[in-house]
Amino acid sequence: MKTGAKCVMEGLERAGVKTIFGLPGGAVLDLFSEMYHAPFEFILSRHEQGAAHMADGYARATGKVGCCLVTSGPGATNAVTGIATAFMDGVPMVCISGQVHTSMIGNDAFQEADTTGITRSISKHNYLVRSADDLPRIIAEAFHIAATGKPGPVVIDIPKDVQRSLTQSCAPKEVNIRGYKPVMDGHPAQIARLAKAINEAEKPLLYVGGGTISGDASKELTELARKAKIPVTTTLLGLGAFPETDPLALRMLGMHGSVAANLAVSHCDLLISVGARFDDRVTGKVSEFAPNATIAHIDIDPSAIGKSVRTDIPIVGHVKNILRDLTRQVKPIERVKWLAQIAEWNKQNPFSFDKTTSELLPQYVIEQIYEVTKGNAIVVTDVGQHQMWSAHFFKYTKPRTFLSSGGLGTMGFGFPAAIGAQAGMRDKLVVNIAGDGSIQMNFQELVVAVEHDLPVKVVILNNGYLGMVRQWQEMFYKKEYSASRLGQAGRAKNEKLKGKRQDIYLPDFVKLAEAHGAGAIRVDKKQDVASALRKAFKADGPYVVECRVKPDENVYPMVPPGASLMEMVHSMA
């Protein structure tokens, strides 16, 4: 006879879990009691949102299922943002939460929340476990569901009495879910149709999303692109799926995409979407997206096909298998004219910023990170302007080296996700590029990095603003900077602080980092950036580099919301 809690630990071990992120509480004490003897590395976050993002970052960096463990009620609700973030970006994760005693459910018990109800629409699947006998099956199913098909988070809510109750056997169960059988191989006739379309197209274009990375298909994609000479543009989450240093690379497309990529989409005659979902930030005005193209869509998720854009050649299945089959059937074609056009667009319109100014620009800092690391780093970002600049001024050549919250756009994601990534990739340099707004959302996790000797480097681009909000206010809201100023000076009347110290910026990130036991340095001048970065990257432990950058720099190019990709804005003038 074994307890439910013991069954959970055995199930996790069998699923290959090595690291668990989380925070204990009353309803999970039995699980933590078993954890005390379990063979896992346990990383104690200081907030459950942090634990969920850590598990997410771990999964994005390693490709394995991330795992987090939180208590009932507030533990679970705090993890909700992390679960939703993973759901939107298709990240495999299993989140185990405690629940009050079965007999107390629905009774407004202490620390009770309807966790399965709350997470129903933001998880791939969830379970409320009613008997310890079900645990071996449920744990095995959860990991299977999280990792296969379009990956996603699965929540297992376990009442306290189920953790404590005894069961005959924790023996493994073979997973067989009759309602869940992801399609693996694409339909041969559809693949042949697409191969024919590629062979006949004059101006084909690959539009590559995060599914290519989660489907471990970067190699197959690269082979297809190089054999058939098809230029490649990626989404934000697709960065790294194809080497951005390759002449066929067009970099990112969409709202803050490259001019070349957006022009190529607008002019191509065949658009091949690979593991991407035609997000509104990618398409701009849907009716004018790829107006001249036959659209092919390869995706493991049938519901992604035809959701926002008409699809001429749909292929449902695993991208890796489909791309392999496709590459066999395409002919090597030179496409001299089309590639010359692509090269010209790339040459004329690189991502750029003012390199002559003596002011410290945020773009310059990111370019320096690229120079100093020579591109060998896992870059993890938060959300906003710095996220877009991280996409523009660092070139990604390998999958799983750019981690970012794309779909949900969760500020506060970057830093804990970087800790999770570092926990999974101990020998890699992990750099979290953050804004001064984002970093304040989960700064408390810095102690975790210090305690566990996870040498994450944090580069804060401090412009004193919620920068992307400020940019939209400048461009679309009459330059009324309502509540976007983080510094004290220049605030609107109703946000002015009462105190005397209106000219200083709070918090002092250097002191704050030091208080958490990490190294830190502040940079105000352009010429000090490279040396500060070198010092930080060489340091043994976590390190914070605060760069006081120009406050009102904007991200360009930009496709205004609702406009077509042809209507890019390049400056305020």
Partner: protein, 158 residues
């Protein structure tokens, strides 16, 4: 356009909430819904009438298929299918009107299941159109109460 969706789902708590949440979360109204176990007690058959254009319904069907607890979904509207609904309707019936209503019920193969001093309760099973016709004819007498099972449907043959 009205669509009749039918789904075979796991007979477990929470499954209905998942399905209803998916549809209502996208702002569509479920006009009728019927769920009951099938010959296999671990599975339930769900029949749902939803309003929406074909594109919307295609997306709803795909999303339903994506749910782990949903075994199979079909939009019967494009197929050959049988549908039935059961209603219990209480009609105001004074002694003078009673015979007329009973005759009407007979024409629709409906059955009087309860007789009260001032009303009759009638049970009827039939296709949606026929039920609509019957109710329209009863309306002038005064419908006091109405309970409907919601439509159940199966595809015809294989």
């Amino acid at each position: 356009m009205k669509h009749i969706l039918t789904a075979l789902v796991e007979n477990q708590p929470g499954v209905l909430a998942r399905i209803v949440g998916l549809i209502s979360g996208r702002g569509y109204n479920i006009e009728s819904l019927n769920v009951a176990p099938t010959h296999d007690p671990t599975a339930s058959r769900l029949t749902m009438k939803v309003q929406g254009d074909d594109r919307v319904l295609e997306q709803v069907t795909k999303q339903l298929n994506k749910l782990v607890d949903v075994i199979k979904v079909a939009d019967l509207t494009q197929k050959c299918y049988l549908n039935r609904e059961l209603i219990l309707v209480e009609v105001a019936a004074t002694s003078q009107k009673r015979a007329e209503i009973v005759e009407l019920a007979g024409l629709f193969e409906a059955k009087v299941v309860s007789v009260q001093t001032k009303s009759l309760t009638i049970q009827m099973v039939g296709e949606q159109e026929k039920i609509a016709d019957f109710l329209a004819l009863l309306k002038p007498f005064g419908i006091v109460d109405l309970a409907r099972s919601g439509v159940v449907a199966v595809a015809r043959g294989k």
